[in-house]
């Protein structure tokens, strides 16, 4: 290893992403990626090593995604279907709560319209938090396949939102910008899965610093 290579580190984001998919016994896979990164960095420099690392990480994640799904298809599908219905139920709650409040204090909101708009924005944040919670629940159920379950659920949600967006764009074009917010929900589901996965991984033995 050259002196220059000693200061080069594998991309942290790529390592974190791979770690989201590996189990405790597969940590040697991340070790292999690091070792080859050093080899390439000392021979060809940091930039080619980083490019190689990202390419390998992407391919490895794709493989692990399929492997995890095949390892426990029943539990993963159950978690996704359950998450879909739970998500549908809880995402409607903020709207119902807000409607109840606004209907009760109509006079107040009509004289404080800015506050009303602020509450509407707050509802979008509530949606995100609830989606993240759904992601956490799905990940907790799909033990070992946390990221597979949450990413698949997010993709299903993305497809449905995409279809809804198309419909809205043709029938109510003025509401498209408002609906774009809902694309953040699938992302929040994946974040929820990543939180659960990271917490579970934290219980494992910590590797030595590079």
């Amino acid at each position: 290893m050259t002196a220059h290579a000693q200061f080069v580190r594998p991309p942290r984001l790529a390592t974190w992403l791979v770690n989201l998919f590996v189990s405790g016994e597969e940590e040697s896979m991340v070790g292999d990626l690091c070792e080859e990164f050093w080899q390439i960095a000392s021979k060809a420099g940091a930039a080619p090593a980083r490019r190689w690392y990202w390419r390998q990480s992407g391919k490895t994640i794709a493989h692990l995604f399929c492997t995890r799904f095949r390892a426990a298809p029943g539990r993963t599908v159950a978690a996704i279907v359950g998450g879909f219905f739970v998500g549908g139920f809880v995402n409607g709650l903020p709207d119902k709560a807000l409607s109840a409040v606004t209907d009760r204090y109509l006079l107040f909101w009509s004289s404080h319209f800015q506050a009303y708009l602020w509450v509407l924005k707050g509802m979008l944040i509530e949606h995100l938090i609830l989606s993240m919670l759904v992601g956490c629940i799905v990940a907790s159920v799909a033990k070992g396949g946390e990221m597979v379950a949450t990413i698949t659920l997010a993709l299903v949600r993305c497809a449905l939102i995409g279809a809804a967006l198309l419909w809205v764009a043709t029938h109510l074009p003025s509401d498209v910008a408002w609906m774009l917010w809902s694309l953040a929900d699938p992302f929040a589901i994946v974040v929820g899965g990543a939180i659960v996965r990271t917490r579970r991984s934290a219980g494992r033995t910590r590797p030595l610093p590079i």
Binding site: M1, E27, S28, G31, D32, Q56, K59, A62
Partner: protein, 110 residues
């Protein structure tokens, strides 16, 4: 004759790489050996997925080495071929030889 006694294409390559590498066979060396000989880019995830499958079939065994700093403190996982794996690779190799017997692949089909 049980179908499961034959190895898939990538399994075949992995077992041959393990046999070549002997005591030095772990993720990095296996990946590099296949890439060097076949000129085909292989992901470490594919190598491990196949090695795990071969281990569950009883064709390879693995053990852990010591953690090293250049691996971020993670240990190496060494692999070796079991007698069952050697039998499987021989059977697969013979099947390929039988299937290609009498075929002039270069002249007739290129």
């Amino acid at each position: 004759m049980a179908g499961r006694d034959y190895l898939g294409e990538f399994e075949h390559m992995i077992v041959l790489a393990l046999l070549r590498l002997e005591d030095r066979a772990y993720g990095v060396t296996v990946r590099q050996e296949i890439e060097f000989r076949t000129k085909r880019e292989v992901s470490i995830g594919a190598v491990y997925a196949t090695l795990d499958r071969l281990e569950s079939k009883g064709c390879v065994k693995s053990h852990r080495g010591d953690p090293t700093p250049e691996r971020g403190g993670r240990s190496k996982r060494f692999f070796r071929v079991t007698p069952k794996g050697v039998t499987a690779v021989n059977r697969t190799q013979r099947a390929f030889e039988k299937m290609t017997e009498g075929l002039d692949l270069i002249r007739s089909y290129s």
